[in-house]
């Protein structure tokens, strides 16, 4: 099933509604940067772009994937599509 997300920016912070899990997720600025960098890039590319270690980014990506915000196709990470409110 394709995940279904609604998102909004409030006071500069991204909040996401995960309709399947019926929960609201508030992204902290660091996770938001990582999430926004998930445009079909691999972990090392994302880490290099953000000036962080690959290990740190891999952990954060795993958390974002568990929250249903990103998916991986092979080594490449992409954002789950969202509808902005």
């Amino acid at each position: 099933m394709t995940p279904s997300l609604l998102a909004a920016v409030l006071d500069g912070r991204v909040v996401v509604l995960d309709t399947h899990q019926a929960r609201v997720i508030l992204l902290d600025p660091e996770n938001e940067r990582i999430w926004r960098a998930c445009s079909g890039r691999v972990t090392d590319e994302i880490a290099a772009g953000l000036g962080r270690s690959s290990t740190e980014i891999a952990g954060a990506l795993q958390n974002l994937a568990e929250a249903g915000l990103v998916t991986s196709e092979g080594p490449k990470w992409t954002q789950v599509p969202v509808t902005w409110v």
Binding site: A8, V15, R23
Partner: protein, 292 residues
């Protein structure tokens, strides 16, 4: 019509009556004691949304209560000997909230100050009722004790005038209660309908999180501080609100986002409701001063 020695300890005559809560109809079949108490407690409640399915509810002389919507039973339980009125009222209000289509709700108290609406959110025991009571006593208009009813299309807060459910500890926490009419009393709870209550919707000004946990801010008194709107949205999603109903998740999210964008979000860290009420009263007075 039938009669019997009731579960609630009274001889009761069973019959039926209708109650119109604005556009929402409630058909109550059951003992007169129950119907009279519900009519009293719900007498000032108006739900301003048309086309909602009616609730058919029945209470047997044995104390079994059930609620049905469009032929489908939505709840059924045995009334306790003490506290049955609060429980029944809670189920009726919960059912009303579950059938809303365009309005949103938050389990919160709500008051009007200088023509603007303030929603008071907080965990159980945070002092929502007591703070609302203290504000109304100081001249605020009463909108609700339990349910903040919001229209995301107009950015307004509607009255939902359930009586203040005053438990002994609420009376203690609120201090002197506002001028009100006692409409019912059951299970140690007095139901007081404040005299100064609003009939019309007001523009939403602020959503206020009452947080009684001690903070070491260095400030000597409670003072409302701005709270990021995203954090408030997260808070609302975790409280009883329209987020609770899955079919309405997306409209609740969009609606609350829109409402919060147009509102102030505040956190009041006060150890006592009177302190929170005083802080909010001073804050709103400050806001209403004409700027130079």
């Amino acid at each position: 019509m039938d009669s019997g020695a009731g579960h609630l300890g009274l001889t009761m005559i069973s019959d039926a009556s209708d109650l119109e809560l604005g556009s929402w109809r409630l058909h109550i079949r059951g003992p007169r004691t129950v119907r009279r108490a519900l009519h009293a407690v719900l007498s000032a409640v108006v739900i301003p949304e048309a086309g909602l399915p009616a609730l058919e509810m029945a209470v047997s002389a044995g104390g079994q209560a059930s609620g049905t919507i469009a032929g489908e039973e939505v709840w059924s339980f045995e009334l306790p000997k003490r506290g049955w009125l609060a429980l029944l009222t809670g189920h009726i209000v919960g059912t009303a909230m579950s059938v809303l289509r365009s309005l949103l709700f938050i389990h919160a108290a709500a008051v009007e100050i200088r023509g603007r609406g303030y929603v008071l959110v907080g965990d159980p025991g945070a002092g929502k009722t007591s703070t609302a009571a203290a504000l109304v006593r100081s001249g605020a208009g009463y909108l609700s004790d339990e349910v903040a009813l919001l229209d995301p299309k107009t950015g307004t807060l509607h009255p939902f005038a359930l009586p203040l459910a005053v438990k002994p500890w609420t009376a203690k926490a609120a201090g002197v209660l506002p001028r009100a009419r006692r409409v019912a009393s059951e299970g140690g709870v007095s139901y007081l309908l404040p005299s100064r209550r609003l009939r019309d919707a007001v523009p939403l000004d602020s959503v206020v999180l009452l947080d009684p946990t001690p903070q070491h801010t260095g400030r000597s008194e409670a003072e409302p501080v701005e709270m990021p709107r995203a954090e408030m949205l997260l808070t609302l999603s975790r409280h009883a609100s329209s987020f609770r109903y899955r079919p309405r998740l997306e409209s609740a999210f969009s609606g609350f986002v829109g409402l919060l964008r147009g509102a102030r979000c505040l956190r009041v860290n006060a150890s006592a409701p009177a302190e929170a009420a005083a802080a909010l009263g001073s804050f709103s007075a400050l806001l209403s001063r004409p700027s130079r």
